[in-house]
């Protein structure tokens, strides 16, 4: 369970998160929508401790993320994140990209790490690309590789930060299909996305962020069907 309690975060004088409360249960899929600069991506990077927070607390399975005693490297094995930019390691092949963390972070033997990497890459449809360098692949393929790389650590939670925003339109589908597959397998996910149709399909709940505040959160039918917040109404009208 991920518990986010009254989290505040500023970059300089700009307050990007103004007291966010959100609890995500095991097995739940929560998507976060909202305009640029609404703080949704920042929240994700705070959840696995890549960004410090100014106030409030985030607790993952009883571990307070920003406590001084928390071993963030250990926590991050549990909470995978995939970014808008897929950030392939360009000097490693696709297989090596996915094997690296299981070998070095989990300390698995080479054969075991390779077995996991092949399994995850096959799962996201890249079983044929094992020995290719990532720069030789399309953005969609690289993003799926990044997803496999995160999954290879067997995380219990996955955070997706606008993973399709940097892709050409024709490549968005293959990545969303991968996310749909994960959701159907019961992975606990928080997805920041601009894909409204996708959000509607996979989410248990959808949260709308506006200027650092979670203005509305509801199951997709309610949020898209009968939005209450005036900003959300405007946002949905603009995106349709």
């Amino acid at each position: 369970m991920i518990e986010i309690q009254n989290v505040r975060k500023s970059f300089g004088s700009l307050e990007v998160l103004k007291g966010i409360d959100l609890t995500v249960e095991k097995g739940e899929v929560v998507t976060v929508i909202g305009g640029s600069g609404s703080g949704k991506s920042t929240l994700l990077t705070c959840i696995n401790g890549l960004e410090p927070i100014d106030a409030g607390r985030i607790v993952v399975d009883g571990t307070e993320v920003h406590a001084k005693t928390t071993d963030l490297n250990k926590l991050r094995r549990k909470v995978g994140i995939v970014f808008q930019q897929w950030n392939a390691f360009p000097h490693l092949t696709v297989l090596e990209n996915v094997m690296l963390a299981p070998r070095k972070v989990l300390g698995l033997p080479k054969e075991k790490a390779e077995e996991i990497a092949v399994k995850q890459l096959t799962h996201v449809g890249l079983g044929e690309k094992l020995s290719v360098y990532p720069t030789r692949m399309s953005g969609g393929q690289q993003q799926r590789m990044a997803i496999a790389r995160a999954l290879a650590m067997s995380p219990e939670y996955m955070l997706f930060d606008e993973v399709t925003s940097a892709l050409d339109p024709q490549l968005v589908g293959e990545v969303l299909d991968t996310l749909r597959m994960l959701a159907s397998e019961g992975m606990t996910m928080i997805c920041v996305t601009h894909e409204m149709k996708f959000a509607r399909e996979v989410s248990d709940r959808v949260a709308f962020f506006h200027k650092g505040v979670m203005a509305e959160i509801a199951p997709p039918d309610a949020l898209f069907g009968a939005p209450k917040d005036p900003e959300l109404q405007k946002f949905l009208a603009a995106t349709h």
Binding site: F83, F89, R149
Partner: protein, 216 residues
């Protein structure tokens, strides 16, 4: 055929000089690179403000002519009663000189690795050290290699200046022969050819590694 007074033993003398050039270069480039990597990483980690004193010292080593550094370094070790032989003094000064340049190369190489790539590594649970070792080091090395090869070749040629501390390296050995045999053209051509023979493999190694790392 032209006549020359150059004998086989003279060529052996030149070869000994070349070995001295190689030894001074190898020690200085090795030590200078290790120091440069350490300084470069430190500068990247602690930021420009805290590394200002280090940057200043390295700037001095980059801007003062090497000859002056060698003479002053020798004077210093003498005043401090360190009792260093010329070889040690030469290697220490050349190492610091190399380190000053290498620091900039390393810093640039590290800075060339996108922060988002490093963030991805950390988000997988890698420690700072693992990120440095498995992501930053290989990527920064690829970017830095051409400059580092250039630095190595430069130091190899600059090492001729250690003759002022009395070391008989390749150029000094040539001078000795020129003075004795009065055949400057031939001897300097041989001397230049030897410098080339030393440099060429290093340059080719650089080209080979670049090609190998280009993922093609």
């Amino acid at each position: 055929m032209f006549n020359t007074a150059l004998t086989i033993s003279d060529l052996g003398f030149l070869a000994q000089g070349a070995l001295m050039t190689l030894a001074v270069t190898a020690v200085s480039v090795a030590a200078g690179t290790v120091l440069g990597v350490i300084f470069g990483v430190v500068r990247n980690q602690i930021g420009p403000y805290w590394s200002a004193p280090l940057t200043f010292v390295l700037d001095v080593f980059r801007s003062v002519p090497l000859l002056i550094q060698l003479v002053l370094g020798n004077a210093f070790q003498s005043i401090a009663k360190l009792g260093w032989p010329p070889f040690t003094t030469s290697c220490v000064v050349l190492s610091l000189y190399t380190a000053a340049y290498c620091t900039e190369i390393v810093r640039g190489g590290i800075a060339s690795v996108p922060p988002t790539t490093r963030r991805a590594a950390r988000s997988l649970g890698m420690t700072w050290w693992q990120d440095m070792r498995y992501i930053v080091a290989p990527l920064a090395t690829r970017v830095s290699l051409p400059s580092w090869i250039g630095l190595t070749l430069g130091v190899m040629k600059d090492s001729a200046l250690v003759l002022w501390l009395g070391l008989i390296e390749l150029l000094r050995a040539s001078q000795v022969l020129v003075t004795r045999l009065q055949e400057p053209l031939l001897i300097l051509m041989i001397c230049g050819a030897i410098y080339f023979l030393i440099s060429f493999p290093i340059a080719r190694l650089g080209g080979y590694l670049e090609k190998r790392w280009s993922n093609d």
